[in-house]
Symmetry: C2
Subunit: 428 residues, 2 copies
Amino acid sequence: MLVYGAMAYREMTENRLGSYLATLPDIAARLGSRPQLWQIRKIATSELSAVFVAEGPAGEVCIKQAVPCTLDLGGQWPLPLERTVFEEAALTLYARFASGLVPRVLHYDSEQSLLILERLHPHITLRRGMIKAGVYPRFAEQIGKFLGETLFRTSDLAMAAAEKKERVAFFCANAEIGRLAEYLAFTEPYLDAPENRWTTPELDDLARAIRQDDALKRAVSALKQSFMAGPQALIHGNLHTGSVLVTETDTKVIDPVCAFFGPIGFDLGTLIGHLLIGYFSQRGHAPSHAPRSPYERWLADTVQQVWHRFHDRFLDLWRSAHAGDAYPDALFTGASGAESLRTAQKEYMRRIFEDALRFAGATIVRAILGRRHVADFEQIDDRRHRAACERPALLLARELIKDAHYVGDIAEVMEVARELREGTMPAG
Amino acid sequence: MLVYGAMAYREMTENRLGSYLATLPDIAARLGSRPQLWQIRKIATSELSAVFVAEGPAGEVCIKQAVPCTLDLGGQWPLPLERTVFEEAALTLYARFASGLVPRVLHYDSEQSLLILERLHPHITLRRGMIKAGVYPRFAEQIGKFLGETLFRTSDLAMAAAEKKERVAFFCANAEIGRLAEYLAFTEPYLDAPENRWTTPELDDLARAIRQDDALKRAVSALKQSFMAGPQALIHGNLHTGSVLVTETDTKVIDPVCAFFGPIGFDLGTLIGHLLIGYFSQRGHAPSHAPRSPYERWLADTVQQVWHRFHDRFLDLWRSAHAGDAYPDALFTGASGAESLRTAQKEYMRRIFEDALRFAGATIVRAILGRRHVADFEQIDDRRHRAACERPALLLARELIKDAHYVGDIAEVMEVARELREGTMPAG
């Protein structure tokens, strides 16, 4: 049997993984003590990692290993293998603040850049669920709790200054993957870059208009700057609907490989942007004899619920668990102080709301005009149908990035979304 | 002779320092090779450090050592002795970007938490200079250069992403002194805290009004939050007029013990705030037979020049030395892109301007109502004269913090300052 203790990194195969798991008593016990009965399969590979499932008579686990990866972004961009340490650190903090809403970490091996996680079953990604018109009655409540808890408790409102600065410093080292995100989210989609693609020729006019929109590019640049230097709280950094696993009763957030301290609005905006993508894509998936109007309404309601659940949870915690140095209690005493604090909270949440809308807009632009597209739209085979779904999404996105300041509330966003989708609104 | 190599920390005395310096060949050579001819004197002590000068036949140096320090801020607050590492790191970066505008570091001893620096002579602090109505014709140009260079080149507009994140992480460890600054600048002066003092009874009404001004305290809380989590660039962190040494031809910035990555507007605001303090204090220092109107005009002009020189330098560098990932060139190509970039730069500089005004306001409030006062006002013996200088400064400060958004430009600030000082404006 191979012995893996403190060995240099090797990419795992099913066979190698069997030997490896057998060296870990806790994991072996969890699977059942006879390794020859274990079944190990690779269930996913991406450019960043390989994912395996190991099943034994007594139980099962999920194994995720970072793989060597060099991206070509006009120059070679190697991602350090050590990046798994940030995923582990984020999952550990998440377990502290939102236990039950992330997979449990059962084992972490820094040498092998490998995590062994609780297997989530029968969960599917929310993206896949939305394409199938799946309804998840607990999702908004659970993700709102996740967002409220993790973002509040790692902010200056809750975390002790020394701990926060130490964690900010730690996650600063996740810089390479952060820089990748900055480039792919806030720069490349707005360039005439060869890697970009879109539904052509249907969206050619709009793609060109967006790349020539100077005010939009200025707004995106300001957004990028706030993403680069706005460590409000620990953010997941890539909270799209493929990073959320769901069942009818459960929600789990996975894959915080991009985690770092950034703007609170970013996680919210990424998620809302991808929920909007799901919303706009429905007509492309609905069979003509069975329109999905009720499901569209559920999604529209879900977007609003996600914001409200986050908002209410965050403010509940501000009232009950404020312990950080920001907005010190001593400045808000007495009756007028309490009233003033409510005003301060409104102003604070309003800034997060506007940030979230702008980030949601950038999320949508990137998914339609950038190098990496999403299954929500890509699985619509008919090009004209696809373009008809993407166009109103892009129009909304542009408005969110440029004019978030003028949006009244989240209900108004969904009202505009509906009107754009119905084509009842003059475009842009 | 004592040998100091890798010895545990000891507080230096003149005697001990002589033996210590003799073990450093470069320093000994600089002073002249016969230690018995060196003259060493302690020239300053503060709660944070002791400062010595060593003079020899061949030259002289300045020695600064951190001393054990525990502050009482409603709880004991020990500052780690290792803090000198941040001062050394900041001075080293400053030497790279603003050579000639900071003292040269000749030696750094982490064990002894001690820096040996180029001695600056016959420099005095700008604060002392202003009290004596000293004119410094090169000051605005030189400090504008310092601010423009150090703030631009450590920002996301110039510094490579990996280097910036690494430095942000490094300076995160300067957290204790940062937390002290947060408390003393943005919290305590607004509380009914026993450590606060002010010119009483003359300013009792205004002190009370400020502590009861809810909108002001909300604005200060938002300002504090941006100071805690806004790593735009490496900031000095305490750039008052006692941290600036001047002669008629030279300007040097000293003492960056609070350095960390923070909002660009903070250094500007701290300096402008203390220049305004100098401005408002003049009538208290002027002999009745010799009013200082020309000097007041010079100071008013200097405040404006400081802003303009910084502004112009920063934008010159943005045009000539842009190398960071923020505001990527590729998003601003062609004639319309160039025009758009100018608009983006205007918006960027406007945000810094408003931040600077708010921080300037907080600087003034703190110096008049907080626990630590400044010589500009303190040396005005006549209490009513002092209060007459402090009152318009406080009124301006309150307006800057709450209404920076509505201020047109820096000339308008000085116009309002003049009117408040003349008493021609209805108070707040």
